[in-house]
């Protein structure tokens, strides 16, 4: 892999470079692999990367139905944080956040991880108490977290609605200074380039249409590009996890919903941080291009179609005007939808499945992007060693039978 650098850029600009290589190859699938990852989103590509990098497992293919990063990786609002309430969640998201902090250098691909702070607004006394509980827990888990007063919050985010005479005045909030946003496409591309350089085959336009088993063990996959043998397989296909599981003959405790997001036209910087509000129900940041990137709640109906309904966007627009009155005359440029797989406890499933040799990583609901490197790291370790990584162990599928749920519903101020 030819490294990227400013010098390279300069050489190419003045004609001394020898051109840019392709970031990843587009190989034909081989008849057999040690590990096949189904799903070329950030999580799948990260899994392949860390399998090759950390475990020396390089005879790996990533199969992608469409184009890599085209699912939720390329559709989310790019928030990265680790200030989760429960120990199990905090541990895996913080592990992920630490990886984010070095990811650009690790991949030699600028993923533009922007640690611009993240403020979760509190609009009621109850939300202040919830924030206090989470911040106390975060601190004890070694995560940076702060409680902010109303004055602190308003000073940090000058465009917030300062009125006390509104439905949900800002009472304060909690902040995580190390949180922020990243460039979502770059994460997929960076992991793809890194994995490819280590020998991983990234195979796009390759849909899995069948699972081949011998007894209780998986031995390969039927795809739209032919049969592929595999010693081990991992399903990492958010939005379609249940579909793949049914091909393999088991069911998942997952419901799939559309989740929409939208961006405004680019404007000069007005918002330097990430803001989330549970009561008013919106989360927003401003991209480096200048667009306000926003999301809210899921559409209540189940669907695999990557589009949602208009009222969700209208509610989001009114929430935005309520929080930031100056946005009213700005214009929304684009809206889109993705499909999120939601578990009953709003936490993911990472680990083994009822089929030997088949692993799964799914159920991240509305918050999977932030976990991309951490999720790949622990799943790669789980696959390589045939046992759950310590951080993944609490997120096994068995928890729904044992009742040891990790319920982040009550804990997350807003579903993201």
């Amino acid at each position: 892999m030819k490294r990227y650098s400013f010098v390279q850029l300069l050489r190419n600009a003045i004609g001394l470079g020898d051109g840019w290589q392709q970031a990843w190859r587009s190989p034909e699938p081989k008849p057999s692999y040690d590990v096949v990852i189904v799903g070329g989103g950030g999580h799948g590509l990260a899994t392949a990367y860390y399998l090759a990098k950390n475990h020396g497992v390089r005879n790996v293919a990533v199969l992608e139905k469409g184009w890599i990063g085209g699912g939720n990786t390329g559709r989310n609002t790019t928030v990265v944080r680790s200030n989760y309430l429960w120990d199990e969640s905090a541990a895996i998201y913080e592990h992920s956040l630490k990886l984010w902090e070095g990811l650009t250098q690790e991949l030699n691909f600028n993923v533009m991880f922007s640690q611009r702070n993240l403020v979760m607004l509190a609009h009621t006394e109850h939300e202040m108490i919830e924030a206090s509980r989470r911040v106390h827990a975060n601190r004890l888990n070694g995560i940076d977290a702060e409680i902010w007063s109303r004055e602190q919050t308003l000073a940090f985010i000058p465009i917030l609605n300062k009125s006390m005479n509104i439905r949900y005045p800002v009472m304060g909030g909690s902040a995580q200074p190390r949180a922020g946003i990243a460039r979502h496409d770059a994460v997929a591309w960076g992991f793809a380039r890194g994995a490819d350089a280590l020998g991983v085959d990234i195979i796009q336009n390759c849909e899995v249409i069948g699972v081949r088993r011998e007894g209780s063990r998986i031995v390969g996959l039927d795809t739209t590009r032919g049969a592929i043998d595999a010693k081990k397989v991992a399903f990492v296909a958010a939005g379609h996890s249940s579909v793949l599981a049914s091909l393999a003959g088991f069911r998942l405790p997952i419901e799939s919903h559309p989740l929409q997001a939208m961006v405004s036209e680019p404007i000069k910087p007005v918002l330097d941080t990430v803001v989330m509000s549970g009561a008013v129900h919106a989360y927003v940041s401003q991209s480096d291009k200048g667009e306000l990137v926003m999301g809210a709640g899921i559409d209540a109906f189940n669907s695999y179609a990557q589009r949602g309904s208009l009222p969700i966007l209208e509610d989001l627009a009114s929430a935005m005007v309520e929080l930031f009155p100056i946005v009213s005359r700005l214009k929304i440029l684009r809206s889109w939808g993705g499909i999120v797989d939601v578990c009953p406890d709003a936490s993911p499933i990472i680990g083994r499945t009822p089929v030997d040799g088949l692993f799964i990583n799914c159920g991240w609901g509305t918050g999977g992007f932030k976990a991309t490197p951490g999720s790949g790291w622990v799943l790669a370790d789980t696959i390589a060693n045939d046992r759950p990584h310590a951080l993944a162990a609490p997120f096994s599928m068995e928890r729904f039978a044992s009742g040891r749920l990790i319920d982040e519903h009550g804990a997350a101020a807003v579903a993201h």
Binding site: I68, A90, W189, Q204, K289, S318, V321, P344, S402, L405
Partner: protein, 989 residues
């Protein structure tokens, strides 16, 4: 300034109504009917903007929503609109517009140094650098962010209002061009209820822009006739200035209407969202012309050919004095002819095609225009305004000739506007002859007609539109027996095929996406680097991601990719169109659900009394509730303490109207409640009430409340204030989708009942004189329910208690709530009755160890965890029962509800504080629980707290440690959660 470029005659502007406006501080004149763009052009202004990345000078390029360059700021102060398209802004008197994204001025913009560095700033350059050292990205990002963005946001809240309207129709026709008008006429004549929405100020579409004839008369006459006929039809509604933004499922179409500008400046509403539910949709949204790829194709003075002719025909503006037309298709000749007819000198028509056999080139030659077959523009000259083009034969590009001109009208053919079609799930197919995507199969309820269907000839637009209107009306249930329109438009066999999209490359900048400054080279680089999917190439280069969403450039980009990858265009694919078709304001989307109407505050019937008596309010769920009633100078804490004391020692009065209430009736009501609650209700006798716990399917406490049995098949169920709606939906969900065997009817009656709670040892003395109900303990014991009259108002009285003292919850019809409250206050006056708020309520219940859902529960707490295991029935099935049997639901890892007393009685432990077994722990520290509620207890005269602690009930008497945020670690002892009257003597007496 005089309008030097205004033609002497023609156009649909009103020359009797001059308007004055400001652009970048200079005053100009225009006419009513102008857009900002046409008025600027009339004054010879082309340069209006700087591009996003390289800050290159840019001119007005298009005519409407497709405009990639002419983004300006309009208005001042709070009324600023950034990124307004000059091409869609209606000129009004006193309009103020300014250019954006330049410093210090539009003509001299320092940002243009980026253009010099452009070789460095190739596609995706930022992914390859800015990686260090250390955290330097923060600095790079700071600079990038300030360089990016285009317009600026206003600094004050929007002074304008936005409306939402809702409409149903049989046939919605989008676009009032020839196809749309024909469709609306056909459907309207069939009797269908028709809505015709059109983004322009007036109907006509392309017929306004081009000098067509229909039946031998000017096409605009036909437009006037058609419009008049439509306006005579009762069932036809016509909306101009209305843009269809998006199509959603089941014929749901979102449109936004702009207000007609008024001279005084402010309209009643600025924009109005139409939510249209249509049985059938006819998409006659027309087509958008695309340019060609050639060196220097962004010079101000370069313009879409169709826009140039529209400025002449419709606005009476000569976009230049001397024009060159550069094209690959016949339609562009119409531009040349119209320009020539307007008196603009046409210096030449450069056609990329070698073989010009069609009628249009012949006509042009006949008219004496210079037609150069197989020729291309290979360069442009000028900086902020085009001065000349370099023309050369396609086969010999170095053989250049300079043609002086100040207008370059380019046409690369037309792209059907398939956005709405795509929103509805339509899959377009590629037509290589047109070099455009055209509709494939029609999505449900939708027909595409006219240019939008790739049928560009006027005759086809008219006949296709009429056909679509008839078909849509028929599918909507009307018998459309009217003959289709018989119209004669010229050239039914017009050649709409196009030639190459690209001129020979001589190494200059060749823009694909003018707004985002994406060049052909960028796209080729993306392909070379493996970004082969069109989605990857788009995201890597940002092609089509700017405010214009690639309306003009995307097809060019696809063809470049196709060439670079050696794949046919259909294999390269196309990106997905997403709503909105054109950017829409936050205000329009939000409509009236802003300010006071954003989640309107719910108030109880007694709210006015609270307000008059100095209540401090807090939002609880959707309600506002009185938190306390501080006397002048009294703090919240002091007020709450006084209120608690009154409720303990004499009597307090609390407004409990916000509690959720559900009326449950039917033969299956008792069985239904048995399934819903973990405890049993079928054994409850009429006249009695019982506290119930509802669990989720996961076995966790979901909601709680007291439910009374009013009769054998009739219950009054209460929920928490915040849970009222979700519990109601949950119950209906089970009834309607799972338990069809039960005949039960649910009615939400939360707002039908006002509830006043009398609490304290003197409660009986206060209520007694007002009621005919026997209040003696024998006749009306704890957890009983009685109906009677209170203050001569029919009432339901529940003897329940959330304070631990004698307590009556009095429910009366909501309209009597205030009267009841006043009567109780009056009756209680001799006893020192004191109204108390939610703060005192919380203290009272915490002293007694009563839980609040959301404090002592968080979706992870079972009845057993709360110490309420005894309530869980072992004799019946209920929601959550199966989950309670799982291994993880018992054992020493479960958290239990306990009390917590700080070693320092004066300290109130902060709610949310986490609890450790040892005073110091390394991070991550093992937390065994947290403080769920905590108050200074006036009754116990010390701080008390409730906590959820792992295996807490087995730890009574143990000392635990709470490290406080930015504070000390404090020690506390685990105790029983019931601090007050554990024997219940006061409550039950």
């Amino acid at each position: 300034m005089t309008q030097d470029f205004r033609l002497a005659k023609g156009g649909r502007i009103d020359r009797e109504k001059p308007l004055r406006f400001l652009f970048d501080g200079h005053a100009y004149d225009g006419f009513a009917g102008d857009t900002l763009a046409s008025a600027l052009l009339a004054n010879g202004i082309h340069l209006v903007a700087r591009s996003f990345k390289y800050h290159r000078p840019r001119g007005i390029y298009g005519l409407g929503v497709e405009e990639p360059n002419a983004l300006v700021e309009t208005g001042i102060g709070a009324a600023i609109e950034p990124n307004a398209r000059a091409t869609t802004v209606e000129l009004s008197d006193g309009l103020i517009a300014n250019s954006q994204n330049r410093w210090p001025s539009l003509r001299f913009d320092l940002g243009a140094v980026a253009d010099l560095a452009s070789p460095l700033l190739s596609a995706g350059f930022y992914y390859k650098t800015f990686m260090g050292p250390g955290n330097a990205w923060k600095l790079y990002e700071w600079m990038i962010r300030r360089a990016a963005g285009v317009g600026r946001a206003p600094e004050q809240p929007d002074p304008d209002r936005y409306e939402h309207s809702f409409a149903h129709c049989d046939v919605l026709v989008v676009g009032a061009g020839p196809a749309g008008l024909a469709a609306a006429l056909a459907a309207g004549r069939a009797g269908a209820r028709v809505m015709l929405v059109d983004e322009q100020v007036e109907p006509g579409g392309q017929l306004l822009n081009t000098a067509y004839t229909i039946n031998g008369r000017p096409a605009t006459d036909w437009v006037a006739d058609a419009t008049a006929e439509l306006d005579r039809m009762d069932e036809v509604r016509r909306l101009q200035r209305t843009l269809a933004l998006g199509v959603y499922d089941h014929g749901y179409v979102a449109c936004v209407e702009r207000a007609v500008p008024v001279p005084e400046g402010r309209t009643r509403w600025r924009e109005r969202m139409w939510h249209v539910r249509a049985k059938e949709i006819v998409v006659a949204s027309g087509a958008i012309e695309r340019p060609l790829i050639h060196d220097g194709n962004d010079r101000p003075g370069t313009m879409l050919a169709s826009a140039a002719r529209a400025y002449a025909n419709r606005y009476g503006v000569a976009v230049g004095k001397r024009a060159v037309v550069f094209a690959n298709n016949d339609d562009a000749y119409r531009t040349a002819l119209d320009l020539a007819d307007s008196g603009i000198e046409v210096a030449g028509i450069l056609d990329l095609r070698h073989d010009l056999t069609g009628a249009m080139p012949a006509l042009a030659r006949e008219k004496g225009l210079r037609v150069l077959a197989g020729h291309a523009v290979v360069g442009t000259r000028g900086r902020t305004r085009l001065k000349a083009v370099e023309a050369a034969p396609v086969d010999d590009p170095s053989n250049r000739q300079i043609i002086e001109c100040d207008l370059l009208a380019v046409s690369g053919g037309w792209n059907p506007a398939l956005h709405l079609y795509a929103h509805a799930g339509g899959k377009a197919s590629y037509d290589a002859a047109l070099a455009a995507f055209v509709p494939g199969s029609s999505p449900e309820r939708m027909t595409v007609a006219g240019s939008a269907a790739g049928e560009f000839a006027l005759a086809h637009c008219l006949s296709g539109g009429a056909r679509a209107g008839v078909e849509a009306a028929k599918r909507a249930g009307f018998s459309a027996t009217q003959p289709a329109l018989v119209l004669e438009a010229p050239e039914p066999n017009a050649d709409t095929r196009v030639g190459p999209l690209s001129a020979p490359n001589r190494g200059g900048k060749r823009f694909i996406d003018l707004h985002n400054d994406v060049t052909e080279k960028d796209l080729r680089l993306a392909a070379q680097e493996g970004y082969r999917s069109v989605e990857h190439a788009k995201r890597y280069t940002t092609m089509g991601m700017g405010p214009d969403q690639g309306k003009t450039g995307n097809i060019l980009g696809l063809n470049v990719l196709s060439d670079a990858l050696g794949q046919a265009v259909p294999q390269v694919g196309t990106t997905t169109f997403r709503p909105p078709y054109h950017p829409v304001s936050f205000g329009a989307l939000a409509g009236r659900e802003v300010h006071d109407l954003f989640l309107p505050t719910r108030k109880t019937p007694m709210d006015s009394w609270h307000e008059e008596n100095g209540a401090l309010f807090e939002p609880v769920g959707q309600w506002r509730r009185a938190k306390a009633y501080p006397k002048p100078g009294e703090s919240l804490h002091a007020a709450a303490e006084r209120e608690v004391k009154a409720a303990r020692e004499s009597v307090g009065l609390f407004d409990a109207s916000t509690l959720g209430k559900i009326d449950v009736r039917g033969p299956g009501a008792a069985q239904f409640l048995d399934r819903i609650y973990c405890n049993t209700f079928s054994t409850l006798k009429p006249g009695n009430a019982r506290y119930g716990l509802m669990l989720g399917e996961d076995g966790m406490v979901k909601d709680d409340g007291v439910t009374a049995r009013l009769g054998p098949d009739h219950f009054h169920l209460t929920t928490t204030t915040g849970g009222a709606a979700s519990v109601y939906v949950w119950l209906e969900d089970w009834l309607q989708t799972e338990w069809l065997d039960l005949e039960v009817y649910l009615t939400s009656v939360t707002e039908q009942w006002a509830v006043a709670t009398l609490s304290g040892p003197k409660a009986r003395q206060v209520l007694g004189p007002l009621t005919d109900v026997d209040l003696s303990t024998a006749a009306f014991p704890f957890m009983a329910f009685r109906e009677g009259r209170v203050a001569n108002i029919p009432a339901r009285i529940f003897r329940v208690s959330f304070s631990g003292d004698l307590s009556y919850e009095i429910n009366v019809p909501a309209r009597h709530g205030l009267a009841l409250w006043q009567a109780l206050m009056e009756s209680g006056r001799p006893h020192g009755i004191t109204p108390y708020g939610t703060e005192a309520l919380h203290i009272l219940r915490a002293e007694k160890g009563y839980i609040v859902v959301g404090h002592e529960t968080d979706g992870t707490i079972t009845p057993h965890d709360l110490g309420y295991g005894g309530m869980v029935s072992t004799k019946k099935d209920f929601l959550g029962r199966r989950s309670l049997g799982r291994a993880g639901m018992t054992g020493p890892d479960r958290k239990h509800l306990v009390g917590l007393l700080s070693k320092d009685p004066a300290r109130v432990l902060p709610m949310g504080a986490q609890i450790l077994e040892r005073p110091t722990e390394a991070r991550p520290a093992p937390m065994i629980g947290h403080v769920s509620s905590s108050y200074m207890s006036p009754t116990m005269k010390r701080g008390i707290a409730m906590a959820l602690i792992k295996n807490g009930r087995e730890r009574l008497g143990q000392t635990v440690y709470l490290p406080l945020l930015d504070g000390p670690t404090v020690a506390a002892e685990i105790v029983s959660p019931v601090f007050y009257d554990p024997e219940n003597a006061r409550r039950d007496g």
